[in-house]
Symmetry: C2
Subunit: 142 residues, 2 copies
């Protein structure tokens, strides 16, 4: 990973470099990040970041995760167009979880739903509590 | 872990046993759980559950996590009195994260703040965006 030099960093990037040292990363160098729509409070998804994806997020002000399955940066919305603009980054008391206040374009979920948390446990099992906004086939054309 | 027998389970417990098989647990047998105040939308905290703590949560309808540091069940509020009543349990699209809709008594954070996410990144570093509701010395008397 090539980090921007301190001399040429903008203030948000410098703050990002500073925060790297205050976070607790797991054994794989990752930290969980919860994305919440900044104005409605909807919890949209949870994914993971490494240092590089966090710096990329702060640089671009668009949320970039680390894809554990693909082992590469995951610029949210790069394929689907459903981007997450970063509104504010918060950290928890022990510095091992991020809360991203975002402005989500359309659905956050690959199923086309606004939120990935679209199933709730009822007495007789899981129930779908929201429907797709967009057919997922339109989000990820072949 | 002693699981309740199917024959004597209530409906929520049976649904809980069923859900165990639909979740993706990490290598340590844990799953991250995000707690959100059900009516205001505040994201309060993120912690971890194992199978036993999830079943205990469903049985008691009060949130019980797994403490990774103490390696034991962590019945939220057992010491401080600041309990989390479970309102609804949601799971995400790939079944590897829980979203708990809760009714939190007082502060969720051990610092006495309502939410653990009380620091936001600004251009010049982290800023505290909320103050303690209660002196933490009163939450955890010696």
């Amino acid at each position: 990973m090539k980090e921007p030099s301190t001399a040429s960093s903008t203030a948000p990037e410098q703050a990002g470099l500073d925060i790297l040292t205050q976070l607790t990363w797991n054994a794989d160098g990752l930290i969980p990040a919860v994305a919440q729509q900044h104005d409605t409070g909807e919890v949209l998804m949870m994914a993971w970041m490494n240092r590089e994806s966090l710096l990329e997020t702060l640089r671009s002000q668009r949320v970039c995760y680390w894809s554990r399955s693909r082992r590469q940066l995951w610029r949210k919305g790069e394929t689907s167009g459903q981007i997450q603009k970063l509104v504010e980054l918060r950290i928890d008391c022990d510095g091992d979880t991020l809360l991203l206040q975002v402005d989500q374009t359309g659905p956050a979920c690959h199923t086309g739903r606004r939120s990935c948390f679209y199933r709730a446990l009822r007495e007789d099992g899981l129930e779908e509590i929201s429907a797709p906004l967009i057919d997922p086939a339109r989000l990820y054309p072949q």
